[in-house]
Amino acid sequence: MTGLAMPKPDAATLGRRAEIVADMRIIVPGEGVVDAVNEMRAFESDGLTAYRQLPLVVVLPETVAQVSRVLKYCNERNIRVVPRGSGTSLSGGALPLEDAVLLVMSRFNRILEIDFPNRTVVAQPGVTNLGITTAVEQEGFYYAPDPSSQIACSIGGNVAENSGGVHCLKYGLTANNVLGIEMVLMDGEVIRLGGKHLDSEGYDLLGVMTGSEGLLGVVTEVTVRILKKPETARALLIAFPTSEQGGQCVADIIGAGIIPGGMEMMDRPAIHAAEDFVHAGYPLDCEALLIVELDGPAVEVDHLIGLVEKIAIDNGSTTCRISQSEQERLTFWAGRKAAFPAVGRISPDYYCMDGTIPRKELPRVLAGMRELSEQYGLRVANVFHAGDGNLHPLILYDANIPGELDKAEAFGSDILRLCVKVGGVLTGEHGVGVEKRDLMPEMFNQADLDQQMRVKCAFDPNHLLNPGKVFPQLRRCAELGRMHVHRGQVAFPDIPRF
């Protein structure tokens, strides 16, 4: 593990490990408790594999009552808990702690209800994202958010991370597609938010929970909205001599009132890596390659393809191919979808970043990245959710060269600082986790972070759930709650009143 400070392990908890394991076996009988080191290895990291840590013990509950009892037990004894879904987080959100119970939700893997008249699916949190679509696709429905890990990532994890995907400009993030959840608080209380109705009453706790990275509660049931599949989808593959032209083309498409189902951009290094890998027929003599996918009834898709083609040509595209078959559409996508492994072929290791920028800043950010690339002596390839400004730079490095991982991380941090500087944010869809935790002050001042931590205090006042994630420094709730009274020092008389 590189220089990341995690909360100091609690010696008392470590000392009571045998007793805690025995108690966990009482709460979750059968195969649901794993404490052998060789078996716990499978859980020592998530998708951010640079960080590894064995947990105190792994617990895989099967019922809501078990989740509630585990959390209540830990809360009463001041034992930390790290929740985990499928372990695909790219930001270390499910990284274990030495003194924490790792609560793995993978046995909550059943779909509980499919309701076509209300177009909802009720699923346990361990059901995979794709599993929801699979359950309803025979009737022509699907679940819209499609993170690239959708074959493996769990819907509960999607709620924790507010996952996106390539279609979220048109169809929204997880937060826009989840109608309700059941969750368990650290004190064992079971709470339901929302349901099959479209808006929940009172404070939008569902909105707060979505993207809270496992620090507020453990999700035990999810109700999502499903959509009817579009009748057709076709794509355009458009190449530009400069990233500026590619960016302007995206702006003009949106300016024409068109919100494509997907709109992806790749830079030269990413195009070359992808083409060498999958031979999708990408043009190689360009700086920016755009894939624009339009979905809907054929008459609409054909109409919009004509409009987008004209916009592309007007912006100086050197290639503009329109998919003539489903096979060709998939070929256009093949290179983009294989971009990460393609980059993995040309470098021993790569580090995937996830900033969002105002789209118009793309040329400036790409130029800044080229400078940083020279400065650090590391190559970088870019794939870009062009519609919503979400940038995924892939930094190429070799972990076997001493110091190179640190260098890649420093490079990545500088890229994210650049994103914030141009009006963007640290993470568009991968989450803060441990990875971007120490960069939070680049975007938020102490008052901003304090108010976020106070929300944490309302859910988990002892900071036992997933500590060490998201916040650079967890302040005690009692300290955060103290009011600083400014009586007598406020410039009150200057306020106009009548």
């Binding site: 608080l185 479209l198 808006d199 599949k229």
Partner: protein, 418 residues
């Protein structure tokens, strides 16, 4: 009794900081267009944000708009319309229903009340489009959350926490919303003369098709007579809105006609007439009669709502109409008594959801929980959240629930006098 009318965020900050220090409760208002919703104000002073106005950033190609919280919604909608864009969640105008003028309301109020409209089925509500805020908490501390890009998961989404908080957590000073292109055209297909249950089935069929229906409402008699200047006559109308590019709308309307050819008589309502009709559905025009007889806004699973209405009709004199495919039920209680316990018991019985008493005389609003009482554990969590933002309970005290910020507030004490 003082009214503070700050013109910049710094003065909002000093006002709230003063109020926090003095423990002086503030009623937070914009234009006051929704002032009649919630329990009657218990605040000594008023913080009026209507002078904190102006669009601060609008970049159509980036699909983003920022404005000071007191900016008139009408001004923002006009600006967006000039660029063929809109707030896709179609915020309703409560003015007419509450006996006020139409066209009032601020962008801050849109967020605080989590407004939406008939397009909520497809496009969500204010909560789904808010990208970032600057605000001052009841602690008298300025903070920000979110940003100005449409995809962002950095830190907790405190912007969403403001949605439907009715000014009880923090005073927003600046808000940033995602904006979207306006559809080129729209057409509504009306299925006529359906009973509520048949209408629910027809709407479920339409929404389950690939016709991309963006709004679905059912207006039984007499609600149907009070829209479009009576042009729809007195037969129930089940309305299905299709929006988009011209050729696509024509194709999808035909698809719906084919799908529903046996459901009942079909009529097409084109372009401007369709737009006007959906504005009336959005603003609850059928019940905007200038009175203060009780009106409920009930949210349920779309296919379940009509069962609740049928059961309610057997026990109370009530008029109803449906939006959101039946998931939003507007109820007007003819007899003057809100019948809160009955309405909420039936909502629970027929699948759950919640009921908000959006219009009633102040005496009723003081005595009856206007917002749905929550189960004890959830009410306690909400109260803890409130206390983390506003520990002295100085922001719109009592508006959402009676009493202070005690974490012990539960369903049993809801509605008790303070």
């Amino acid at each position: 009794m003082t009214t503070f009318t700050p013109e910049n965020a710094e003065d909002v900050f000093s006002t709230v900081r003063w109020a926090a220090a003095e423990q002086a409760p503030l009623e937070i208002i914009g234009h006051g267009s929704k002032r009649g919703i919630g329990r009657p104000s218990q605040a000594e002073h008023t913080l009026d944000l209507s002078k904190l106005a102006g669009v601060t950033l609008y970049e159509p190609a980036e699909l983003v708009l920022s404005a000071k919280a007191g900016t008139p919604l009408a001004e923002i909608e006009t600006l967006l319309a000039r660029n063929n864009q809109q707030l896709a969640f179609e915020p309703m105008d409560y003015g007419p229903l509450l006996g006020g003028k139409s066209g009032r309301g601020t962008i801050g109020g849109v967020l605080a009340a989590n407004l939406s409209g008939p397009r909520r089925l497809k496009a969500g509500a204010a909560r789904d489009h808010i990208l970032g805020i600057h605000a001052v908490s009841g602690r008298g501390e300025a903070f920000k959350s979110g940003g100005r890009v449409v995809k962002n998961v950095t830190g907790y989404d405190l912007s969403k926490a403001m949605a439907n908080s009715w000014g009880t957590l923090a005073v927003a000073t600046d808000v940033t919303f995602k904006v979207l292109p306006t559809a080129e055209t729209e057409t509504t297909l009306a299925v006529r003369s359906l009973l509520d249950d048949n209408a629910a089935a027809a709407m479920a069929l339409a929404l389950g098709s690939s016709a991309e229906v963006s709004s679905a409402a059912h207006l039984p008699y007499p609600a149907v007579t009070r829209v479009a200047d009576g042009a729809l006559g007195s037969d129930a109308a089940t309305l299905l809105r299709v929006e988009g590019f011209g050729p696509s709308v024509a194709y999808r309307i035909n698809k719906l006609k084919d799908l529903l050819k046996n459901a009942g008589p079909l009529e097409e309502i084109p372009g401007a007439a369709s737009q006007a009709l959906w504005r009336e559905v959005r603003d609850c025009t059928p019940f905007a009669d200038g009175s203060d007889t009780p009106v409920w806004r009930v949210s349920m699973a779309p296919a379940d709502g009509h069962h609740m209405v049928m059961a309610l009709r057997m026990q109370a004199a009530v008029e109803a109409f449906y939006d959101w495919q039946g998931g939003l039920i507007w109820l007007a209680m003819a007899a003057g008594d809100p019948e809160a316990e009955l309405v909420r018991a039936l909502v629970k019985k027929f699948g759950g959801g919640h009921a908000t008493l959006v219009r009633a005389a102040p005496a009723y609003r003081a005595a009856i929980p206007v917002f749905q009482p929550q189960p004890p554990a959830l009410a306690a969590l909400s109260a803890r959240l409130k206390a983390e933002f506003d520990p002295s309970n100085i922001l719109n005290p009592g508006r959402m629930m009676a009493g202070g910020v005690s974490a012990k507030v539960d369903a049993a004490t809801e509605g008790a006098s303070t």
